[in-house]
Symmetry: C2
Subunit: 565 residues, 2 copies
């Protein structure tokens, strides 16, 4: 039931092994987190040869299930010092699935400054020296590799930020058009790839077929029904038209849009950086919405953004990026934000972490809110690898440390993403307790009536997020636990109930927490920074609620209960 | 039995309160660590208003006991994120003792950029605005304050490094001649002082008398006997002639002198930076050894170093400084090292942390071993507050983080001091397990016959270190537990056995560990970095022992036993 491809970057040796049978039901996050838990010394330095970088497509990879091609990238995180899974779409997941590979595991580390490409085909895997790619941006890397290995190859690569071992460096993945604008962005996994001396993994699935389901007919039926359900859902229709970007002005009105380094929850320039008008303007420029980032997507939330000259800028401009590079920096000039996005895509930088880090740098006088050219100049510093640039590129926590800033919007060292935890209190519960640090994927709770509802909702969402990431399902397909169970049963030939699925997710979370503990991250790291509980949030509202309702007010004694499975 | 002086820097209000009776037997480290444990929220940011900075003289402060004027400075550490006690001599301890003050506790924080002086006299305490002192070096600060408040005042102050909130910033203390060359150096407590807006504490004990012992006659006898014991000890005679510096070339021959960023345990230039010759040369320049750093010292390990023009450079040049600024940077030019020492004294920088941080920066190409002018230029960067300078000034861990370096010579984020744990394996056990992080004070073990002996010796030394720091006794007076017990019994009117004293020390260590845990530092942080266990140490020896004997090889299962009281 699938193979593990181990590449030892110290010896440059490749080993393809049969996955043990207890890996049969592990894929995506369940598999990457389990390999971290069982194989990575928890106290090792994330940039050392002892760390391992795992690329694990979801269990449904290579199948015909809709929205099922996502891949989990995992390692001990240079950003948090704990376990890390960063999840991304693009073309790599399905191709690995078609090749029958459950995970690519990078071990050891090449000599300093080395630059290799790993090429994976159905006939074998080779480790190719690629000094000519050293220092290249993601776009040049992807186009060079496409010329060399064919347009259809799926590419996972890291940009200059990863080579510089920055803790906000991403692993980029190409979309169906070969554009490296999709990122396993959080936690600095690009730095782990850079530290191992791997610039890219080229996945060529020529000569393979879709992966076959164990219960073919049943799986077909389930896929058909689930596709219909997703396509007809109102949410899918909306995001196919507006992407995730369209909702930004709504979030601003709601009051949970991080603005000017988490000073406010509403941004007066929100319409200019994320709204129906922005989408219409993009269409006039020749850009478009309704794209897919991976084959088999029926939600189509992706987009192609053009600049004012009608030129391509990015093929994945998201709510989180516009929020953190825009509102959180007080910048309302869409073209500046798009230029920042493009540079982050090309350098391989997490737009969330960069947005939070530049935001705190205002406290040090390094940046002024609203200064777009100033923000671009700071991205130049990162690209040039100056001490200031490296500081910012190492993320929010390091930026605060270097400049002696005590108001630090991170959880476990990871910058807080674009949902204000003082307004979305339930989301704050998720940030505080996720073993991944402050994380936005699948655990957003806009509102809840009571603390116990928040706790319970966050717990259930965290469980579901693990199950989606294990199956490789995009969270925007909005599956319920039954959907996921039925898809997995049909494809893997299981007889699970949704409780079995939840039990698996719980054990994944347990292993993630256990790894964090063994890495030295005690339970007290499962909390929000103090300013969210002390400093009332400002919003654009006619009537503000009283200060005590504008702070994150869930006691740690309550949030701690979440991961007590 | 003594008072607590609380100064709230948010409100600028002063409160002198009677210490509770359970504080009667607490002083120095026992008191500062207990106040941290019971009053500082363990998860607060070290630079926030929630942290408290405590100045607690030892229990014997103000008494006639020899070598008893040391003071503990404590807070949640900006360097380690855990509890911190930095211990120092100078004049402040005895003066607070004569004033009957068990601890000065700085709470809250003044507005950003504020600069205050706290003046303590027998008639009261005042908080004085002192904007004219902002940015001044420790020497200018001390001389300005001496002019204003009298030459006899004891001064605790922080330099520009503390005002810049650098995690290697010290709290400086004046010696009997008013020179601020003594430092509570480790753990970045100067940054906590700077964050509170306190530039200096001026202690004027005019009109006070020595503190009276509860059992006057008995105490007199004990002091007399202990003084005789100390004065006649061979060790005292040696260090009064050679300071701690004289032993450097011996340590190099022994093979435990950190050299070139912990690559080797022996430095070929050791004779030039710490030997009998250096001491003789200093005498020719008009400098001298055999000084005291605090009143009542009968050991006299301190010194006054002169430069080649016969000009004063520093009055506290120690083995650790010459080792870490010299050997660890491959610098054998004593005058360069003295210039570095002087700048560190004046900026208020921990010479150990700076030496380790500059050492690792060689891995990033920022510094070349042996390049003295280059090292001075990096100190300029720190003084100027450039991004590079701030990075280095934030210490080893931050320097490694910013530059993506995975070989990180720290424990709990604190740079490893000048005793190589691969040669002094027992010292390594102490580094790994001290709640203070890698710490050199009182826990050095040059050799031991077995792992169990190392464990037991480290445990006993850590207990004794706490007891010395609680009494305020200098470790160079080399008291045994009976000496300390007898001194405390006489002075405080106790009937303790040395077991009682040890029990107290154990409970101090327990509270320190508990604070670390509650601050999120799990048990897995009680370890040395991997390279000490993986990379055999080089030394200058005719015959090197085999590689497996040149690594730190005590399993964590053993070291963990130490603090299980």
């Amino acid at each position: 039931m699938g193979k593990l491809l181990r590449v030892d970057m110290t010896t440059l040796k490749v080993k393809m092994e049969e996955a043990p049978s207890d890996f049969d039901t592990l894929g995506g996050r369940a598999l990457s987190s389990h390999i971290i838990y069982s194989e990575v010394p928890p106290t090792c330095h994330p940039l050392s040869a002892e760390n391992k970088l795992i690329f694990a497509p979801g269990l449904l990879a290579g199948s015909i299930a809709p929205n099922s091609g996502r891949i989990s990238v995992g390692a001990k995180s240079p950003l948090t010092g704990g376990t890390k899974e960063a999840n991304v779409g693009g073309t790599a997941g399905h191709k690995l699935g078609r090749l029958g590979i459950k995970a690519v595991i990078l071990e050891g580390a090449a000599e300093k400054g080395a630059c290799y490409v790993i090429k994976v085909t159905k006939d074998g895997t080779s480790v190719l020296p690629a000094p000519e790619l050293a220092g290249l941006g993601n776009y040049a890397t992807a186009s060079t590799l496409a010329r060399e290995h064919g347009e259809k190859a799926g590419i996972l690569c890291t940009g200059p930020a990863g080579e510089m071992r920055l803790a906000s460096a991403t692993v980029a993945v190409t979309d169906p058009e070969g554009r490296p604008a999709r990122h396993a962005a959080r936690g600095g996994l690009g730095a782990v790839m850079g530290a191992k001396g791997v610039k890219a993994i080229v996945i060529d699935d020529t000569g393979t077929k879709p992966a076959e389901a164990k219960q073919k007919d049943a799986f077909h039926e389930v896929c058909k029904a689930f596709t219909k359900e997703v396509v007809e859902r109102k949410f899918s229709v909306i995001v196919s038209k507006n992407g995730t970007l369209g909702g930004l002005s709504w979030v601003s009105k709601f009051g949970s849009l991080p603005t000017r380094n988490f000073q406010s929850g509403s941004f007066e320039g929100s319409n200019k950086i994320g709204s129906r008008e922005v989408i219409e303007q993009n269409a006039e420029r020749g850009g478009s919405f309704g794209h897919i980032c991976m084959p088999g997507c029926v939600v189509r939330c992706s987009n192609v953004m053009h600049d004012k000259n009608g030129k391509y800028v990015t093929s994945g401009f998201e709510y989180e990026s516009s929020a953190m590079l825009g509102a959180n920096l007080g910048i309302d000039d869409l073209d500046i934000i798009l230029e920042m996005e493009h540079r982050c895509d090309d350098l391989g930088l997490d737009t969330i972490e960069v947005g939070v880090a530049l935001g705190v740098s205002a406290d040090a006088g390094v940046f002024s809110f609203g200064d777009g050219p100033g923000a671009l100049a700071l991205l130049d510093e990162i690209a040039e690898g100056t001490a200031l640039g490296r500081t910012l590129g190492q993320g929010t926590e390091t930026t605060c440390r270097v400049f002696g800033i005590s108001r630090v919007p991170t959880v476990k060292g990871q910058g807080v993403p674009a949902h204000e935890p003082r307004k979305e209190i339930g989301t704050g519960v998720s940030y505080a307790t996720s073993p991944q640090g402050a994380d936005h994927t699948g655990v957003i709770i806009f509102s809840a009536d009571s603390v116990s509802e928040m706790i319970e909702t966050s717990r259930l969402l965290q469980i579901k997020a693990v199950s989606m990431d294990t199956a490789g399902l995009c969270l925007f397909s909005e599956p319920n636990m039954d959907n996921i169970t039925n898809l997995l049963n049909g494809f893997c030939g299981l007889t699970w109930t949704s409780d079995d699925l939840a039990d698996q997710a719980k054990s994944v979370l347990k292993e993630e927490v256990a790894f964090n503990r063994a890495a030295g991250l005690g339970p007290e790291t499962d909390r929000l920074p103090d300013f969210f509980t002390q400093e009332p949030l400002d919003q654009i509202h006619d009537e503000l609620p009283p200060p005590e309702q504008r702070v994150f007010n869930v006691p740690e004694s309550e949030t701690r209960k979440i991961l007590n499975f």
